[in-house]
């Protein structure tokens, strides 16, 4: 199976790029669907599953409480969710060609040799993108939004660190790093899709 793993800064358009790639290449697309599937299997709320670990629950547990907490219900539940998410990712990867956004799929699915993309942009363009997608009339505080963008990215890096020593966002860990600042993704993604197709289809010398 061909897997494209998209890692992305919040507000950079990684989700849109991933969806477009999937559409253009005829691959399945997974993003929030992963938490929904985990939640369904574990009979939990999808929002709870999504928030539970990516938002740093494990990081927030002080290490010196380790022993006690390791036996606590909350801890065990977090671990179960983590294990289940890995299982879902592996099932997805075995089922069909696909694009997976986030979820540390780049390292969890390493044995499938995914094509790894990192999507980023400068802060001004990330803020502008968030504003475009805000509800009409919603009043966004730009300073607060910038803090929130940084906070989410730092949680994504933390989540990634649970699975690998490969640093999130370090270009060496990806096949392609795409700066989306000022780009119309509808116009340019088709060429990225063709590039990735060429890399899969015997790009090796």
């Amino acid at each position: 199976m061909k897997i494209i793993a998209i890692s992305r800064e919040f507000g950079s358009g990684g989700r849109e790029l991933g969806k477009r790639l999937a559409g253009l290449l005829g691959y399945a697309y997974y993003d929030r669907e992963i938490e929904e599937s985990v939640a369904q299997r574990m009979d939990m709320d999808a929002g709870y599953v999504a928030r539970s670990i990516e938002q740093g629950a494990l990081r927030n547990i002080p290490l010196h409480f380790g022993r006690t907490l390791a036996n606590s219900y909350a801890w065990k539940q977090q671990i179960s969710i983590l294990v289940e998410k890995q299982r879902v990712l592996k099932e997805i990867a075995a089922a069909s060609d696909c694009v997976i956004v986030g979820r540390a799929a780049d390292v969890i699915l390493a044995e499938h040799d995914p094509f790894k993309v990192f999507v980023y942009a400068d802060m001004a363009h990330k803020l502008a993108r968030c504003q475009r997608y805000a509800q009409a009339g919603e009043n966004l505080d730009l300073h607060g939004l910038e803090r929130e963008i940084k906070r989410i990215d730092s949680r994504r890096a933390d989540y990634h660190r649970m699975f690998s020593d490969q640093k999130w966002g370090r270009k060496e860990n990806y096949h392609l790093c795409v700066n989306t600042s000022g780009l119309d993704l509808a116009k340019v993604t088709p060429y990225l899709a063709e590039y990735i197709r060429a890399c899969f289809a015997g790009g090796t010398p």
Copy 2:
């Protein structure tokens, strides 16, 4: 004019990629031609011009000698070469669409808003590429070669630092970062050329 500025790790194939892009897009291509032009104008040897600054001549001049050295002939000559190289770069950029490999063109030509590409690869693939291009029968010491690759890249970063605080190789300073590990550039570069063309031709939303 449309400028593509290629920065690259030694052995990553950045020069080949730049040449191919220029051919595919019908742009002029500049690499060593820049030192040749400077050398011709200053009536110097092109090899001397190429080595003089990129190889760290300025870095090697101890700062506490500053005053004396600033008046020395050698120092003035280094500065003249530097100034002349910038002039050549700007003339090139004004003359026609082009691809420029290295020479800190990404920052020296910032006012032209170049499309900035960083080309890199993992060490194993860089070593393999160097071996492919070695003379037949030439005996390469892989450890020595790896040290040399790192030394050249560190000099490139030093050279870049003379013109800008933007760190050489940091993905945020480029529009696209391409990992060439295991890629056949003849097969995949056409898709990068189309992507860059799309970015130039109103990729902005």
